[in-house]
Symmetry: none
Subunit: 214 residues, 4 copies
Amino acid sequence: MRSKPFDKEEKRNQIIKAATKIFIKKGFFGTTISEIAKEADIGKGTIYEYFKSKDDIIFSTFSLYINNIRKKIEKIIESKLNPKEKLEKAITLFVESMNKEADKLVKLMFDFWAIAVKERQIGKSFLIEINNFYKQYRAMFSEILIQGIKNGYFKKYINPHQQAIIITCMLDGILTQYVMGNSCIKYQETIKSFISTIFKGIVNEQHNLLKSYK
Amino acid sequence: MRSKPFDKEEKRNQIIKAATKIFIKKGFFGTTISEIAKEADIGKGTIYEYFKSKDDIIFSTFSLYINNIRKKIEKIIESKLNPKEKLEKAITLFVESMNKEADKLVKLMFDFWAIAVKERQIGKSFLIEINNFYKQYRAMFSEILIQGIKNGYFKKYINPHQQAIIITCMLDGILTQYVMGNSCIKYQETIKSFISTIFKGIVNEQHNLLKSYK
Amino acid sequence: MRSKPFDKEEKRNQIIKAATKIFIKKGFFGTTISEIAKEADIGKGTIYEYFKSKDDIIFSTFSLYINNIRKKIEKIIESKLNPKEKLEKAITLFVESMNKEADKLVKLMFDFWAIAVKERQIGKSFLIEINNFYKQYRAMFSEILIQGIKNGYFKKYINPHQQAIIITCMLDGILTQYVMGNSCIKYQETIKSFISTIFKGIVNEQHNLLKSYK
Amino acid sequence: MRSKPFDKEEKRNQIIKAATKIFIKKGFFGTTISEIAKEADIGKGTIYEYFKSKDDIIFSTFSLYINNIRKKIEKIIESKLNPKEKLEKAITLFVESMNKEADKLVKLMFDFWAIAVKERQIGKSFLIEINNFYKQYRAMFSEILIQGIKNGYFKKYINPHQQAIIITCMLDGILTQYVMGNSCIKYQETIKSFISTIFKGIVNEQHNLLKSYK
DNA sequence: GATGAATGAGGTTTCATTCAT
DNA sequence: CATGAATGAAACCTCATTCAT
């Protein structure tokens, strides 16, 4: 990758990394270009060699992380796991992102949202991106469910699209309350409890019983 | 216009109403005091007769809406409805408010978050308030469920606290995706579908059957 | 004095008294009309029934206190004391004003000065008033000295005008350093020491010896 | 204009110089940052690259002038002059500076006072600095007098500390009245007259006579 | 006469962006 | 390419003053 003597893309990511760190701590509106520059250990003016504006930084940051998650989603879909395993894995992906570093990233997400809901120029782009992300996210669950129905893992009469919405909304809700509520709900227990509720409704027990016989 | 005797509280609410309108459109950081003043049709300085600072405005706005919802919650709890009806009513309350108040509240919520992160001092107060609100919201559902279990409306072995969390998270999630997704999910269908899933898990069919016999 | 049902002058003085209290604590520029009104226990608007503007308040305050001192000076001059006693009395007047309440008044004086040295409208009037006051103050000492020379209390060859300047400058200097220096010089000792130095230079010992013979 | 390599200290002083000019004319509270910027021929924002706040400007201004005088004082103390010459030099320093620096300083002094009263925090620092300055100033005269007594130039029985206070107060007073009185007293004459009075009291004539014999 | 709600001019300060080096 | 000094628009907020009651 580092074939050229200078790699513009790498430096961009370096700046985004620095920006993310500060955004998480102080929020988008609480962060100054100076702080980002200092954190990235470069001059203030240099930032403008790589980004058109402050808005461009947050938007690029957003895109970077969204795409990272997208890639993970695609990997799951394309994996050789069976639908039930895929469903668990997908939820786990979500749960994992709530630990450690990623917990902070979620806070970043709130900033994205705050910017997105407004009418502003950048907001619209955000909203479109977030919408796409949600669609994709729901599509992932939808696809997994359809696969499961086809293969007999899940009950035939369930509405995969509807269930996908319920699952994503639930995960979103847990996330929101977890972060807002200052970790006062035990999200892991909640998710487990939720999964069991959901699974009870959709999993085709007979099929799975047969499977395990083999 | 100034025929009535001077009512400080009314004027405060009038300003909050104007502020809300602009906050929702442009976000807290994108809104100026001048704009609020113009929207409220008063002078810039007048705002400061009723609020200590811009932060105070958003905080008061937040409190106003939170308390409005609180009052409604309390009414439901204290009503003469049976637990199942209460549960339906509580969710309906939520659905209803999605068209009016709560829709605003959610959009403001992101701002609250942005402010909470930027300004440590006020941020803490915000998070405590949000936390309290969530607790109260969960407590409402918890109480309804406990009443229902006692009276035999709901199954004995369910964990009311856990179910309350699931319900509130779900509603929160639906709301978030509804607002973010620009009405691209049909929330009413989703909620109906969700209710049926939940009810399947908790409602004691035998008891309700007996009831309907009478 | 309270013959008329309403005494405008009295109310003015009442406001000045309140203003003085706040001016001393917070300085002219640190004091707001609201504070003065609250201290005087009247409405903000009422102040403008008695004073044209904030500047007018400080100017009137200044005039009031200056005139009080003027009256005292005149009393001393017109008293039946002998020149040496008058000189002592005049300095004592000064020393007295450095105690108790009056010490605070001196701080007010600094505000007058701060306003006076500037080019502003009110500053000019102040400067003229202060100048007049200084002149009068020096004139008092000058007159006392001339009386003393005439009557043989003081040496014939001294320049009364010059000595008056030295005395007033000295007193002014002590005052400044006392207030600025946060009472870290013992002004009473200093003044005593200064008086003895001055008296050594001007008092006609022979005459006083003769006097005390009688 | 910007040919020289960038000198932060120089620019600070340049701004201070501009600020001083306006402060003297209009007073601290009457001066706006815009005016200072215009006078210094720079942008408003540039000021804040060199000073934290408006308060910081006045405080730095104060420190600059105080320190300039301090340096001069130290030079005199450390010079090879004899005590009597030092005393004359010290007073001369004072007289000289009345035409230049000190005249500014006194006018600013009233502003310092006004700020000291208005803003408790910064006010304390000011008073401490002023106090230190006065102490140092008195110490200079004290030291000169002690040297003089030791070497026989001044009378043995005088109290050097007390005399130092008298001298500094006197000079301070002359300065104040000079500035306030709008040059209406002839300070040079007054100082000469004062010196002769003081010297009469402290100089050891016999010793000086002997000295001049040699 | 007395009031205090309303006002808006004008103050300080921040910070994204530019541009000469 | 990199820099950071310079900038000024625009924000928040204060407060002397007005005026309807």
